[in-house]
């Protein structure tokens, strides 16, 4: 019996998404992620939407195991459904959804069967902007800009320098594109098909995917064997 149970725990992730980067701007939250799903080191799937709206007030972005992300979406779907069924003028805001997800993630971790994701949750409710992160071991926090995975190391320093309270939509997008470009150059599991989405008090939009322009004409790339020529 123990062996059957063992095979049902999550031990390693299989199809994974790379980083998500998000920031608060003047009217709400902006989030960006690429559309790649890697199967180990193979870039297997290139049209995975990793940014999804949840209810009226929240936007969820996920990196990590894609199947676990889909499971989370099912949990949230049920949560929002029951919330709507009350039909009483109250609704779950981003803070509540974040707290709920933290409980779920931490609970699963304690059972040694984690949902292998790092989630970014953003939203606006009653004029209050909210941006937070939860990861697979249940660590959660709130901040003005967040990122998952390699984004923490590559994108957040850029955001720390260049983020301010009053970014316009265009400035926010430019900043996110800058972060995603660095990730594209340096993260081997990134694909050049980026989706950006925004959420404001009024509505949530997930924009169609686009590609970033990259530059490879560095002189050092022109003659790659200049430093160590020939065979030995």
């Amino acid at each position: 019996m123990a062996t059957v149970a063992e095979s049902e725990r999550t031990l390693y992730p299989y199809v994974t998404g790379s980083s998500v980067v998000a920031l608060k701007y003047k009217d709400g939250i902006l989030m960006a992620a690429d559309m790649g799903g890697s199967y180990g080191s193979t870039l297997r799937y290139k049209s995975i939407e990793r940014l999804k709206p949840v209810g009226k007030h929240t936007l969820l972005g996920a990196s990590g195991e894609i199947s676990d992300f889909q499971e989370i979406l099912r949990y949230l779907d049920e949560l929002i459904l029951y919330d709507n069924m009350w039909d009483d003028g109250n609704s779950l805001g981003p803070k509540e959804v974040h707290s709920y997800l933290t409980r779920v993630m931490y609970n699963r971790r304690n059972k040694f069967n984690p949902l292998w994701n790092s989630l970014v949750l953003g939203g606006v409710k009653n004029g209050q902007k909210y941006l937070g992160m939860v990861n697979m071991i249940g660590i959660n926090f709130e901040d003005n800009h967040v990122a998952t995975g390699l984004g923490n190391h590559l994108a957040r320093p850029i955001l720390r320098d260049e983020w301010n309270e009053n970014l316009t939509f265009e400035e926010g997008v430019k900043l996110l594109e800058k972060c995603m470009r660095v990730l594209l150059y340096r993260d081997r599991s990134a694909v050049n098909k980026i989706q950006i989405s925004k959420i404001t008090e009024e509505d949530c939009t997930v924009f169609p995917p686009f590609s970033l322009k990259t530059y490879w004409d560095f002189s050092a790339f022109k003659n790659p064997t200049a430093g160590a020529p020939g065979s030995w």
Binding site: W86, D88, G89, N90, K95, E96, S99, Y100, R103, N126
Partner: protein, 251 residues
């Protein structure tokens, strides 16, 4: 339902930003302490009961448990309407199973959530209604009559006026018996103010304020002990400023 009518009175009223609960203390004898009729359920919800207090205690515990579970999961306050529905569903079950008996207690639930201030009345039958102001328990009809006359003004009332109205409504149920702070309990919840029960001193001061007004309307028989000197003299239902100075209810 009969049990509710025989319990001692409980009164609730709400404005746009505050809800006040007041009830008459009943004790078995001179020697015993009085029954606890108002309970805090969470920082934003409180309940006053009338009827079988044991049943009331069990339901209060259930309500507290629900609020805490919701707070733990969602880190925000449980909307009052949802708590009420959960409570009444629980009560309804007892009316449909032959081996159970209904909860013999009427609950006046006062609460505040993002959709505003709420006052609900829960019946043992499993019905619930939302009220601007209501009174339950024995001799509550007098209070209800008073509230019916004045409820239109409650939405815009200040906190102090609302508490005063609650005390006056309580006095109506006493049918002639003197209103003293030892006889009643008052609790408030409002925007920026968590649910709490007011202490006896504060209540006595408020009672003295409007008792003076009443005394002056009829020829004063004797000087009131502990009367607020002159400050309450021109105070009427409308003047909030004076009351604010005398009753410093910062808890």
């Amino acid at each position: 339902m009969e049990a509710v009518k025989q319990g001692s009175a409980a009164i609730g009223l709400r404005s746009k930003t505050h809800v006040v609960l007041a009830c008459v203390n009943k004790s078995n004898s001179e020697l015993s302490s009085h029954q606890k009729k108002i309970s805090k359920v969470d920082d934003h919800i409180g309940v006053a009961i009338a009827g079988l207090t044991a049943d009331g205690r069990v339901l209060s515990r259930y309500m507290r448990s629900e609020c805490i579970n919701y707070s733990y999961c969602f880190e925000s306050v449980l909307p009052v309407g949802r708590l009420i529905v959960q409570l009444t569903d629980k009560a309804q079950v007892c009316t449909q199973r032959s081996w159970k008996r209904p909860y013999g207690v009427g609950l006046l639930v006062a609460g505040l959530d993002e959709s505003g201030a709420h006052l609900y009345y829960n019946c043992p039958s499993g019905n619930y209604f939302e009220y601007q102001a209501f009174a339950i328990g024995s001799r509550s009809q007098a209070a209800r009559t008073y509230l019916e006359r004045r409820f239109v003004s409650f939405t815009g009332s200040s906190r102090e006026d609302l508490i005063k109205d609650a005390l006056i409504a309580t006095r109506e149920t006493l049918q002639g018996e003197k209103l003293r702070s030892s006889v009643c309990t008052v609790a408030v919840v409002g925007v920026g103010e968590p649910f709490h029960i007011l202490d006896q001193e504060t209540i006595q001061k408020l009672i003295d304020d409007f008792e003076i007004v009443r005394e002056e309307k009829s020829p004063p028989a004797e000087p009131q002990p502990g009367a607020a000197p002159g400050q309450g003299s021109s105070a009427d239902q409308g003047a909030g400023a004076d009351q604010g100075g005398v009753a410093s209810m910062d808890i």
